[in-house]
Symmetry: C2
Subunit: 228 residues, 2 copies
């Protein structure tokens, strides 16, 4: 009974049944489709026409939501990978006792890892694309990320034990460690809560903290995170 | 005395004075120019015409050295990022005492880190590009890299202490840790011998080894590496 006609879209049926989740707003559908395309085929290789096709809207509608087009979409995706963590830094530092900097570092790293793990389509990777680093949107991202690196630096310097040599600066090193999840996701890994905690724990362990301190930081971190 | 004419190339002068190091063979000049272009602007965005222009040769000469063109160049660059380490795995495992697996893991990671740090233009990054993972050249690289991951897995499983939770598999986790240098270089870091050793040491520390074991592994590793 199957014929070529059966495969033709019926009137009124959405054109793109495998498109983004239609429970999202049109603006979020554009962000979601762009994220998927940028990560899987590159930012330069993706056109606004292609994004519009995926969402099932006209190309002009992209510019209604994002007047500056692709770069504006990129800027928002990049910012989402660092902003949620940066926005909690002062609160984390305020809530954790200064005499146990491992706790604050653990919380910061766990929050950062969870932010990166929860990003749809692993958009934390976008900042690595050569064409993205040249985009005007990159500058703002880079500034926000530096704020995050500064927080890692402040806390990391207090946690690193004597005799433990850090390659480069503690801030850059710890931020890079948290960002490992981007490349683990890229290799196909699925990271659950235990894996997220293991990455935060290994960050503290890399600084030379002992297992007792790590366990204690992990327990306190769970309480702090719950009230953030 | 300066005029517009002074800036015009004189007859007989090479067209590309800022091109690759001319002490290299033409084949290696092609690899070097390609590496720089692929990393800085992307693989898809680079044409063989552009590579030929950078080297100062005709486009047809690229195909004389690399009959399959860009993908063949890419394959060779990718392989150079993993092959030198993989080729030493059996020797490392043979030279290190089985009762101190930290030493073998330290040597493997230090060698891997040094290989990645010494790659011109940070070509270790190429495997991350979306268009590269779709290239036919990627398959061979992926196979070689899996051999490296297996070695990390074999050694990592012996080093990881009870109570230390590993996100995913030990092999993937340790290989990802070594590859952090790619992203540190990408952020502009210059990694010297001390930083390389610090990354290997932190890999062993992440597994839960104590400072004494790390120091011992580091000392033995220097001897093993010197005779590889």
């Amino acid at each position: 009974m199957s014929s070529a006609d059966d495969r033709r879209p019926r009137p009124g049926r959405p054109r793109h049944i495998s498109g983004p989740n239609s429970s999202l707003s049109p603006r979020d559908q554009i962000l979601d489709a762009s994220a998927r395309l940028f990560v899987h085929q590159g930012f330069a290789a993706t056109s606004t026409r292609e994004i519009a096709e995926r969402v099932g809207i006209r190309q002009a509608s992209i510019y209604y939501h994002f007047p500056s087009g692709k770069d504006e979409i990129l800027g928002e995706l990049l910012e989402k990978s660092v902003r949620p963590t940066v926005d909690k830094v002062a609160q984390i530092e305020g809530m954790c006792p200064p005499e146990a900097p491992e706790t604050a570092l653990y919380v910061l790293m766990l929050l950062d890892v969870r932010t990166l793990v929860s990003l749809p389509h692993n958009t934390g990777f976008l900042a690595q694309l050569p064409e993205v680093t040249r985009s005007p949107a990159y500058e703002q991202y880079d500034k926000t990320r530096r704020g995050l690196e500064d927080a890692y630096e402040r806390l990391g310097c207090q946690v690193v034990r004597p005799g433990v040599i850090v390659p480069g600066s503690a801030g850059e090193w710890l931020l890079n460690h948290a960002e490992t999840v981007i490349f683990m996701r890229r290799s196909g890994a699925t990271l659950g809560r235990a894996a997220e905690a293991a990455i935060a724990a290994s960050g503290i362990r890399m600084c030379g903290a002992g297992q007792d301190q790590i366990d204690h930081a992990g327990q306190r971190a769970a309480e702090v995170l719950a009230s953030l």
